[in-house]
Symmetry: C2
Subunit: 230 residues, 2 copies
């Protein structure tokens, strides 16, 4: 309908975060396309004609992990002319928070993908390193403001695990007494009658995110707000 206007390639790139064994991880794929074939990159794909940006991001993520209904957050569009040396491509970046244990290992193997600890990830192609840095920044903001940490943990988790997750996200040791106090005070954790003995002999109580309670509190004007100082 709109005539005489140039069209562009539009891509989606996903920064896929996970958390395992006390460290924040990224799922990266070995690129199979020229240019830069064989190098590490974010999982991505081109936008189709009849899907929205969000749908496209879900599809791309699903291709690699087999997961649906994952936490996905669009955070920036990248459009420098030569960001991809092969062609002019606009890329819309999303970050995803997934529970590592639930993803499909076979798909990951097929794609030549691998989980890297955030701290020793390889250098990525194009502007993907910038995207990753920006995604972490966004994640930090979200994690303070909304209860998104749970997306990275199993259904049942312990407080030491939860704290360790936050320590990874903010690259900062936190005081366990203060941390427990504030998260428990928020009232959105349900304590279970089970312990996890994987981490210690004594065992740590398992908790679950109480989604109903959270929704209820929201209607009362409650705002999730874990204070993490710089």
């Amino acid at each position: 309908m709109y005539q005489h206007t140039e069209k562009h390639l539009v891509a989606i790139d996903c920064i896929i975060f996970g958390f395992e064994k006390g460290s924040l991880k990224l799922l990266l794929v070995k690129r199979k396309l020229e240019p830069c074939s064989g190098e590490w990159s974010l999982m991505g794909g081109f936008l189709f004609e009849k899907e929205s940006l969000d749908e496209s991001a879900s599809r791309v993520l699903n291709q690699l992990t087999g997961l649906k209904n994952v936490y996905l957050h669009q955070f920036h569009a990248y459009g420098d002319i030569s960001r991809d040396p092969a062609d002019r491509v606009i890329s819309v970046a999303y970050f995803a928070l997934i529970k590592i244990s639930e993803h499909d290992h076979n798909l990951v193997r097929e794609y030549d993908a691998r989980w890297f600890s955030y701290d020793d990830k390889p250098v990525l192609i194009f502007d993907h390193d910038t995207m990753v840095a920006s995604a972490l920044e966004q994640l930090r903001f979200e994690a303070k403001t909304r209860p998104v940490g749970f997306e990275l943990l199993p259904e049942k988790f312990t407080l030491p695990q939860f704290q360790s997750l936050y320590e990874c996200i903010y690259q900062k040791k936190l005081d366990n007494r203060n941390f427990r106090k504030s998260i428990l005070a928020s009232g959105i954790l349900k304590k279970l009658d089970e312990k996890d003995r994987a981490g210690s002999k004594k065992g740590a109580w398992l908790y679950r995110f109480d989604k109903e309670k959270y929704q209820e509190l929201l209607t009362k004007g409650f705002r999730f707000n874990l204070t993490i100082s710089d």
Copy 2:
């Protein structure tokens, strides 16, 4: 280079904020294109082949205002399939903060554009109302965290003006003693030897944003942070 992939129309839309006579304003244009010709919309335009997204936003903004080097902030990409009933268009939204007094009135007239108070803006086409709401949310975040308010004021401004701006952005009355205290304490305002007598008989002292001081403070770990409670 990348074969067999669909290309898309990519547009830029600008939410243009201004501040005048104690109210937050939006610059809107009367659309000249079908569909929805004659209705109010955001200023926008299609992305060209050889310009980045940021450059495109600057160009679009410059077309309507004649201004360059304006504060522009990309905040979201909109990509629902039918957001524009005429065609599939991906739109990358930016918000701009401009000093109303400095823009080019003739251009605005040519474009059939008009400044509206935020509170009585008309209903906009497509998803532009959503964009505006989201832009204000982003502006609120930015204004707490970074000294961006100055972009909306003349070079010289008074503290009552400055406070009034913040009251507009947050739709909330603020305590003048507390507000003055915190902004002055930050040390980024330079008091001038001049008064503005437009607002009152007594006159109010003029200030200027001290950019050098701000840069210097940044290097010392200072972070701008006006606390505005909900």
